[in-house]
């Protein structure tokens, strides 16, 4: 700093004029290339260098054993536990994928009758079609897509999965459902029920009618204030008390009611945030045009509010999808429960069976949840550019 500066020996304006030239500096070592990148991003200070080394050690400690367990030492085919036990020629045992492959139908369909499994596959296809229609933001006739997703598909799926002897589909009681089927059914019911109910509750919470507002606030805050497990317990032990004995709902339906209540309360808050993001002028403009409350909401406010909340709706859906595992606690055979049941099967019980089963479930949930979170981020970016270009 002070090097070549004269600090004003003859005073006045020339005080900061340099008197002698600074020697030319050597050229910078490198500003691009691998070395420069490493210097800047990994070793910019002693602390950073230490952190980098620590991270490298951590990676070395974690990644090779993981790869070894999941792929190198893994057993891909086998018929029973013997194939997944350590042997002299295979001393370190990795994941027992043979177990997962052997039980994959159980993990997917539970106890669903074998000759009826095509019905489950058709249900998966119907659902995938509906999700794709709604998720593709430029799809044609998305209004029809909404009708399909919230009305046609649920009814068709119920008929398909439960059966309707009159049209030749034998009945399959829900006690025979299981695995991924139940996980997907619980998540779908949660979403299909929670959006309409959540929108109603959110509008109710912003209503100017005190009784409706009070009811909405109490429902939302109580359900959000208690854990999902207690809601599920309530649905599974209290609900049968509250209805006449002849109407007692079956176990899966009870859990579905609990999940629908829970997800509606969370969805209501998400939608409310979206409603609050809409400027007051939009409401006033709709009123000024003479639209009635319902028209104003349906044609003006909700389309805008729901569009800006799509990322949050998807994020809530991710939470809901993970929370579907909790139905396990009230004895429903979801994916986790089928894994829990299969891993203690004496035919497959080995030291690595549990970990293999959990690894399979982890991959399943990771793919779905990560996919949804990428989608939410994509929509968010698109909305951001939309807003900028307007």
């Amino acid at each position: 700093m002070s090097g070549g500066l004269s600090t004003g020996h003859d005073g006045g304006a020339a005080g900061f004029v340099r008197e002698r030239l600074v020697a030319p500096q050597p050229p910078p070592v490198a500003t691009s290339g691998v070395v420069a990148w490493c210097r800047e991003n990994l070793f910019s200070s002693p602390l950073n260098a230490a952190l980098t080394l620590l991270c490298v050690l951590l990676v070395i400690w974690v990644v090779p054993p993981l790869v070894k367990f999941l792929f190198v030492d893994a057993v891909w085919d086998g018929a029973s536990r013997v194939d997944c036990l350590a042997r002299p020629d295979h001393p370190e045992m990795g994941a027992c994928w043979a177990f997962v492959i052997d039980r994959i139908n159980f993990f997917t369909y539970g106890f669903y009758p074998i000759d009826g499994r095509w019905r489950v596959n058709v249900f998966f296809a119907l659902l995938a079609f509906g999700v794709a229609w709604l998720a593709w933001l430029d799809a044609p006739r998305r209004d029809l897509g909404v009708a399909y997703f919230f009305v046609v598909m649920p009814i068709a799926s119920i008929i398909l999965l439960l059966g309707w002897p009159a049209i030749g589909l034998p009945r399959v009681p829900t006690t025979q459902w299981g695995g991924i089927l139940v996980t997907i059914v619980v998540a779908t019911v949660g979403i299909v029920a929670s959006l309409p109910i959540g929108i109603m509750l959110a509008l109710g919470r912003r209503s100017r009618l005190p009784a409706i507002r009070l009811f909405s606030v109490i429902f939302i805050e109580v359900v959000r204030g208690v854990p999902l497990i207690t809601v599920l317990f309530m649905a599974s032990v209290m609900l049968p008390l509250f209805v006449p004995e002849s109407l007692s709902p079956d176990k899966l339906l009870r859990a579905l009611i609990g999940v629908a209540m829970f997800s509606s309360a969370y969805m209501a808050e998400v939608v409310r945030a979206g409603l609050q993001a809409i400027p007051k002028g939009q409401y006033e403009a709709a009123m000024a045009l003479g639209l009635r409350y319902r028209q104003a909401m349906r044609r003006v406010v909700l389309p805008q509010a729901l569009t800006v909340t799509i990322p949050n709706i998807v994020n809530t859906t991710i939470g809901l999808f993970k929370d579907t595992t909790l139905v396990f606690v009230v004895g429903i055979f979801d994916l986790l429960k089928t894994i829990e049941a299969a891993r203690v099967d004496p035919n497959w019980a080995t030291p690595v069976t549990s970990t293999s089963g959990y690894a399979f479930a982890a991959i399943f949930y990771l793919i779905f949840c990560y996919g949804m979170s990428r989608y939410a981020r994509m929509v968010e970016q698109r909305l951001a550019t939309d807003r900028k270009s307007r």
């Binding site: 991003n41 990994l42 910019s44 950073n48 952190l51 980098t52 991270c55 490298v56 951590l58 990676v59 100017r208 009618l209 005190p210 009784a211 409706i212 009811f215 109580v222 204030g225 208690v226 854990p227 999902l228 497990i229 207690t230 317990f233 309530m234 032990v237 209290m238 049968p240 008390l241 509250f242 209805v243 006449p244 004995e245 045009l289 003479g290 991710i318 993970k322 929370d323 595992t325 909790l326 396990f328 606690v329 986790l336 829990e340 891993r343 030291p351 549990s354 970990t355 959990y358 479930a361 982890a362 949930y365 990771l366 949840c369 990560y370 979170s373």
Partner: protein, 398 residues
């Protein structure tokens, strides 16, 4: 619309039919809603009375003082099979609060560390923190708990082949056994000295703060505080010849006796909750720090602040305003998620009360209502406390 306009023009006081009057309609809607709720409540209650009578289940809270007759594997207060259901409730509540309290502390520490790491200029550090967050957030907590419990802790060696830890502890599939510090006679003075040290440190901090406000002079309070807290108890201990003993766990044939026993269920639940919640807290922290405008940091640098004080005095106080509200909901989520204990058998409130007590008494309505009320109260108290803190850090507007 045109019709309305002409109607308004013709009649200065338009006579709307009663059912089109918004006020009348509003009242009608509310009456309808109340009637529907009242009808549902009446139907539910009458059905419940009938069903309970048929199943010969008592109602009311009389069961509270009945003998529970079951064992609980972890308790912070005295409890035995002859204790009452009420006692079992308190045991479960304390176990829930224990795991939630410890979980909140550890998850905060880990979450802040990972959140800051995600913002690091070090490419590898930020990438690894990001990988942690993305993986952990996208896996169900229940799956993680089952993994920790069944695949890690239950796969540890059995009691006879316990892993001996340095310092006299043991680790096996029945849990973690640690030496328990015991105060011998005379050790109480060390506690007194510790309390005195803490009080002196607090007083010093307040005095330094006042002095700084008055004169602008700073003092190295950190080292002074540390010395005040640590030196007196250590000095007292040294003078009285270290009157602290340890109750070491001893390995027997079938079990380990003595020491502090940490259940594998507790460890699995704590690990799972901390690791899961830390990922969410990391995102909260990252968003909070990013919300502080870059100009704030640059302004602090141009005033001559070093990076450390810039972070401590300029960035973090502003980030906390953004962080506190979502952090509160993460704390509440952790507390609510602790109910997953029921899946791995940790005796928390839900497992003891909404599980065992409900099964034994059959009084579903009362038991579930009490359980829900407890979590509602915890939620309200936690958010109340955090709101208090939030008001302290919130922006004071002119």
């Amino acid at each position: 619309m045109a019709r309305n306009a002409t109607a308004a023009a013709e009649a200065p006081t338009p006579k709307t039919p009663l059912f089109r009057d918004p006020r009348v309609r509003g009242i009608a809607y509310q009456v309808l809603l109340c009637a529907a709720i009242a009808f549902l409540a009446w139907a539910a209650i009458s059905n419940a009375i009938e069903n309970l009578a048929r199943a010969k289940i008592a109602s009311g809270f009389g069961f509270w003082d009945n003998t529970a007759g079951f064992d609980i594997s972890q308790m912070l207060i005295d409890y035995s099979t002859t204790s009452t259901y009420g006692r079992a409730f308190w045991v479960g509540l304390l176990n829930t609060l224990l795991v939630a309290g410890l979980g909140i502390v550890f998850a905060t520490v880990l979450g802040f560390a990972i959140g800051i790491a995600r913002l690091s200029s070090n490419w590898l550090v930020s990438r690894m923190a990001g990988f942690y967050v993305e993986t952990i957030r996208n896996l169900p907590l229940l799956l993680q708990l089952l993994f920790w419990y069944n695949a890690v802790l239950k796969a540890l060696p059995s009691v006879r082949e316990s892993l001996a830890l340095p310092g006299g502890g043991f680790l096996n599939n029945r849990g973690l056994f640690l030496p328990q510090p015991v105060l011998l006679p005379g050790g109480g003075w060390a506690l007194v000295a510790l309390a005195a040290g803490v009080m002196a440190a607090v007083a010093l901090r307040i005095w330094c703060k006042r002095r700084q406000m008055r004169t602008g002079k700073q003092m190295p309070t950190f080292w002074l505080t540390l010395a005040l807290v640590l030196v007196p108890p250590l000095a007292v201990l040294a003078l009285s010849g270290f009157p602290i003993g340890f109750n070491f766990p001893e390995s027997g044939r079938f079990n380990i006796r003595g020491g502090i026993e940490v259940l594998p269920e507790f460890m699995a639940l704590l690990f799972g909750l901390v690791i899961y919640t830390a990922a969410f807290i990391a995102e909260v922290v990252r968003a909070g720090v990013l919300a502080v405008a870059k100009g704030q940091t640059e302004a602090a640098y141009s005033l001559g602040f070093k990076p450390g004080p810039t972070l401590r005095l300029v960035v973090i106080p502003q980030a906390m305003r953004v962080i506190v509200p979502p952090l509160t909901s993460q704390y509440l989520n952790l507390t609510k998620n602790s109910t997953l204990a029921v899946a791995i058998g940790y005796p928390d409130l839900v497992q003891i009360f909404a599980g065992t007590v409900l099964n034994q008494t059959g009084q579903a309505v009362e038991v579930i209502a009490i359980t829900m009320a407890v979590y509602l109260v915890i939620s309200l108290v936690t958010s109340g406390l955090m709101n208090l803190y939030n008001r302290r850090v919130a922006l004071v507007e002119r």
